[in-house]
Assembly symmetry: C2
Homo-oligomer: 203 residues x 2
DNA sequence: AGCATAATTAAACGTTGTTTAATATTCAAG
DNA sequence: CTTGAATATTAAACAACGTTTAATTATGCT
């Protein structure tokens, strides 16, 4: 039996999250189970339930980690270009690249649905907000004069679109990418949408 | 015990699909289970497994039904306007409206992931192809001179975008729609993207 | 009527998330 | 130190899940 002095509560917590992330990376989110995680960290399920409310809580923590990783990469890409439009293209490409590189982790984030009885925690929502804040700042640079509402709308429209391409690209096989690579789709979307949206603002 | 003369194989098949659709509509795809479906049609699980390979097969049939319903509605909307651009806007709006109206059914279609050991059946893929064919025909009307490749790319880009908006809207985790309605996002996406894409073809 | 065929069921298996009571460990007070 | 309260950990249980099995029941054919 593992002794309680072997690991602190905090250590246990992060060990479980790490194990969950490993399982997701190897088998996808469907492969995650309380028993499997427990076994991987050398404890039993009961101990796991001392650190996490339920399995959703655990997966949510693993997914939050993924979101943070992604945000870090996006921020690097964001800085990689000075031209505002090019910056948005780079950002979208980085988003797609992350989805491709960390397919299962990324899928876990956006496929995992929690029961309506279990509302999304604030600390998790904060990650998503940070993501959209980055996008909005990029869009704002393209049209500094436009209203906050307008910028928010364009950001959400654009990023929903980028997100949609990533979903249909990585997850399902809605289209074979022999015709057009996902990257070219993303480029097409960002350039054309922002092109017309910026022009609208100058009319 | 239900007698086998009570219902033909075909009746059983469609009874099970109907029951599945009802459960999805009421409780979402998470509420579907073999036992629940079996009980609702007055048989036991074993009988269900005589009509369907596994639970994925059953859900797939229910989802195919949903896709057909959606396609029918989209076709009506497609005809509702003569102007090619307006037609695409209507099409996208109809897609969003369906996603809103049949939230759980629509979510079931796009959240259900089948194991990689179980490839998507042709009859299911055919539904998706029909959907994209409709979209492509609308895009082609906007730029008849452009290459098949180009039209396919634009169609997929655009519809991935529309799809993404619907996902983030109905899941409504990502943004509160008090700023901009999903409908306005969809309109914005379709108009601006096609605007610039069509212009590019005329350069 | 009787036999073969097929449909249906009840029961089982292994898995899941979660809870429970019992046990083991820690920590503080005497 | 020892004892006792507090807590961590475990093993076992529960209900529900997908799926398979053997046994039973209904059908169709000769």
């Amino acid at each position: 039996m593992a002794r309680r002095s072997d690991h602190t509560r905090e250590e246990l917590h992060s060990m479980a999250i790490d194990a969950t992330r490993t399982i997701i990376a190897q088998e996808g989110i469907e492969g995650v189970s309380a028993r499997k995680v427990a076994q991987q960290i050398g404890y039993t399920v009961g101990t796991l339930y001392q650190s996490f409310e339920n399995i959703h809580d655990l997966v949510l923590h693993a997914n939050a980690f993924t979101l943070s990783e992604m945000l870090a990469e996006l921020e690097v890409s964001f800085q990689s270009s000075r031209d505002p439009l090019q910056r948005m293209v780079k950002l979208a490409e980085a988003y797609l690249r992350f989805a491709e590189t960390h397919q299962r982790q990324w899928a876990a984030v956006f496929r995992h649905s929690l029961p309506e009885s279990y509302p999304m925690p604030d600390w998790y929502q904060a990650r998503i907000d940070a993501l959209f804040a980055l996008i909005e700042s990029g869009v704002r640079a393209l049209a500094p004069k436009r209203s906050r509402q307008s910028i928010q709308g364009a950001s959400r429209t654009l990023w929903s679109g980028v997100h949609g391409i990533c979903i249909l690209h990585t997850g399902d096989k809605l289209f074979s990418n022999r015709i057009a690579s996902a990257q070219s789709l993303v480029q097409s979307l960002v350039k054309h949408y922002l092109n017309s949206w910026v022009a609208e603002g100058k009319r």
